[in-house]
């Protein structure tokens, strides 16, 4: 088995409320796993059951082939990084890092060597004698990261570690965490509600909702082939249309879209999803003859938002809002403007089709 961490039918109930509902997952040694979901979905509860701070109602947490449900947190030797950093305010940077080593009764020489090593890992050697309050948020979280890594934990658990930081520092630290993980080949379990963070950092992403796993997979698969309309909505941005399907046609509002999805053909009520960057924009009169007329819809640009490399258009089609992303360069060249009448094209192969029901779009 190696140092694999397995969750088997793991369940947590608070009275009648089920926070985590029979989840199963095998995390391989050295893997970077990310739990992604909206707040209250149970992702932090899973993390806390792995750390031992939360009791397990049902099911098992298995590490190295042994059930560790009843092992106290001190004995699990898992490192934890908290959202609030949780540095000891009464200790300096180096004392913070040395704390876990002292608790494991390492000899002083080995401790100071290890502390140096850790400080170098995040480039904070010059800050060693300062107290946490004297550091910026980003620096504090770096200290918290190496403090957790110092005792060489079997697994590192990170609970929304970057949520309290500014957007720019967040992106930089995210890269640093990824680099550390690749260098140290440490198993990391990372909890976040930020889908961009999850997709950019993890080997595998677990999308959670209401205490259950909705999809487990590589970031690219989750983005390209969301298994449900919830995932399609939560990971990235999607436009949704409710409709009635007959073979490769879906009737939604006044339109009948042609779709080109293989696989089990759900008939009847469905939800169509399409990513904003997949929708093509034409000005009236531009050549569009090669396109399927059924998927060409007239609309009017309501709102224009610059996102940087792309421009986001909110287009009103027959009273419904559709989001469409256009590359900035293209937007400039074609001189698209707010209030303008345009045509939207929904390529049949870009539609994802889900049965209607479980999640409202």
């Amino acid at each position: 088995m190696g140092r694999n961490l397995t969750l088997e039918n793991l369940t947590k109930r608070y009275g009648t409320l089920t926070a985590v509902d029979r989840v199963n997952l095998e995390i391989k040694e050295g893997e970077f796993i990310c739990f992604l979901g909206p707040s209250g979905c149970g992702k932090t509860t899973i993390l806390r059951m792995i750390t031992g701070f939360e009791t397990v109602t049902d099911g098992k947490v298995i590490f190295e082939g042994k059930v560790i449900n009843h092992l106290i947190p001190q004995k699990r030797e898992f490192g934890i990084v908290f959202q609030s950093y949780a540095l000891f305010p009464n200790m300096t940077v180096e004392e913070n890092i040395a704390f876990g080593l002292k608790m494991r009764k390492m000899n002083p020489k080995a401790i100071s060597k290890r502390v140096d090593q850790m400080l170098d890992l995040v480039g904070l050697r010059d800050w060693r004698t300062l107290f946490p309050a004297q550091l910026s948020g980003g620096q504090q979280q770096r200290v918290a990261l190496v403090r957790a890594l110092a005792p060489d934990p079997q697994v590192l658990l990170l609970d929304e570690p970057l949520s309290a930081l500014d957007a720019k520092i967040r992106v930089r630290l995210r890269a640093e965490v990824k680099r550390l993980q690749q260098e140290l080949k440490k198993t990391m379990i990372y909890v976040t509600h930020d889908q961009e963070e999850a997709l950019s950092i993890a080997d595998r992403v677990v999308v959670m909702e209401k205490g259950q796993f909705r999809q487990v997979g590589k970031p690219i698969d989750i983005y390209k082939c969301p298994s449900s309309d919830f995932v399609a909505d939560f990971v990235g941005t999607s436009n949704f249309f409710k409709g009635l399907r007959t073979h490769d046609r879906v009737q939604t509002g006044p339109w009948e879209f042609e779709i080109a999805q293989a696989g089990p053909s759900q008939q009847g009520k469905v939800v169509l999803a399409i990513r904003p960057e997949k929708i093509e924009v034409f000005r009236p009169g531009e050549p569009a003859n090669h396109l399927r007329v059924s998927n060409l819809v007239p609309g009017k640009i309501d709102v224009v938002t610059f996102l940087g490399a792309a421009v986001r258009l909110v287009v009103n089609i027959n009273g419904e809002e559709v989001i469409s992303d256009v590359i900035e360069k293209e937007f400039e060249q074609r001189g698209l403007k707010q209030g303008e009448d345009i045509l939207l094209y929904f390529p049949p192969e870009a539609f994802l089709v889900y049965p209607e029901g479980e999640v409202a779009a």
Binding site: K12, P73, F99, A148
Partner: protein, 581 residues
Amino acid sequence: MNPPSSSSLPFSRDKMITGIAMVLFLAMLTFFLLYPVVDICRLSFLKEGKLTFENYLTYFTSPRIFRSFTNSLYVSLLTMIITTVTAFFFAYGLTRTTMPGKGVFYTISTLPLIAPTIIQALALILLFGRNGLITRYLLGTDWNIYGATGIIIGECLYCFPNALFILYTTLSAVDTRLDEAAQSLGASALKTFWKVTLPSAKYGIASAAALTFNLTITDFGIPVVIGGNYSVLATEIVSQVFGLQRFDLGATISVILLIPSISAFVINYYLTRKSYALISGQARPFLQPSRPLKKWGFTVYCGLICSCILIVFATVFLGAFVKTWPYDFSLTLKHFDFPSLGAHAPLWTSFWISVLPEGTFRTMIAYKYAPIWTSLLVSIVVAIVGASLTLLAGYIIEKKKPKGEQILYTLSVLPAAIPGVVMGLGYVLAFNKPYFFIYGTIWIIIINIVISNFTLGVLTSIANLKQIDKSIEEAAVSLGSGPVSTFTKVVFPLSRVAFFSTATFFFMRAMTTISAVIFLISATIKLAAIEIIFLDVDGRTASANAMCTVVVAIVVGALLVMRLATGRSALGGMVSSKQPG
């Protein structure tokens, strides 16, 4: 959104340690708090070994004793009204006007806390007594202040800071933008005050009133010195027990006193919670400059009240140093040579004998100052033990949340509801037994003071621990730290300031408390604060003043040491987390 914190963590050793501590605390509070009080209730229903209501009948049918009940209510209600109103406007001045000298006013208003309550009575007697400076010497009138008037004025001065803290916190928490909004909608200043300011502070006002009522009805020091023949419940208990050896009637009056004092405490407790719930976390906008009339009106008003407080202290200090008040104002130290009262403090005595040269000075310090040294020793022990125990109890209640945590919390908060005199009598009844070996030693006094003041210590500790992020402890645990090292290396260092301010509070209470310990002193073990009363009763008023001065000096000394040690004012940190700007 984090799930509710779980109470059933699988830390076996941690759980065991918490469990043991919890049982010890419950045992301690049951034995030293509940048992004495229950014993009093039991005795009040007994007459020659039989269960009866006779004691209550005796109390309510003998007008001479029953008077103490109506007297107590009269005095407490009047004090409550006067103190709440004056303290409200003082707090208003501090929070809602741009008058100068707010810091000075605030500091002076806290002074009554550092002295025994009798200081108010001593000063009033010096100024308005039979030989009062103002009544006899300046006005030549026969009117004097003994009786209800004296008690009420004294209690008002003593209760003032306590009421002020509540009102100050309330008024600084209520958003002043509400006032501004009302005024921008066209309400006049007076109308704004009546329709917006006052209603928004209603819980704070009621809570301050309830607290004042509780403090007054349970106080013993002021009525015993200035009451004269005007008996109140607290003094009646003591005179029934000491004067007439009527323990049963003392117990009965204690139970009667418990009813209004516990009610007032419960009301205060719930209203404080309500009033804190109203506090908005929003930052207060800049106060617009007050109109000159308002500004200077409040300055004069606050100045007057502060002068009264300062005059009390100045009078007693002066009274300690002049030959014969109010006729001969030449200075002397002779009143500090206290009459030998038979008190013993053997350790201190041998200490002073070994360090001082022989002579009358050594005799004075080594023998006659014995009550002071006993008080000092008791206060130091109480400070350390009280602060440690309340920190631990707070930690268990706030962070560990074991089963039965609510019971521990209730028992910890209860002491504030029980009048000192009742606690003292309860200790006599419960522990004055031959097999109870610590009775008659300083240890029973130490235990009594720690238990009587447990409430504020625990509440301070809880408030402080609430501010420590739960993750910090979890971080320590995840790094391999056990329950003991988590507490000593992380929790305790982060609670240091709260620990010191609680220790200061316990020290102050031990130095100045009178009501409970008056039952527990003996012929050889005496305390400085109690000596003030005995000296005064003996007619040695000047020596009483001197003793009071010594007590205040020791408390001020302790406050200064604490300030140096922690770099902040212990008094300010303890009574209120917010200092005026």
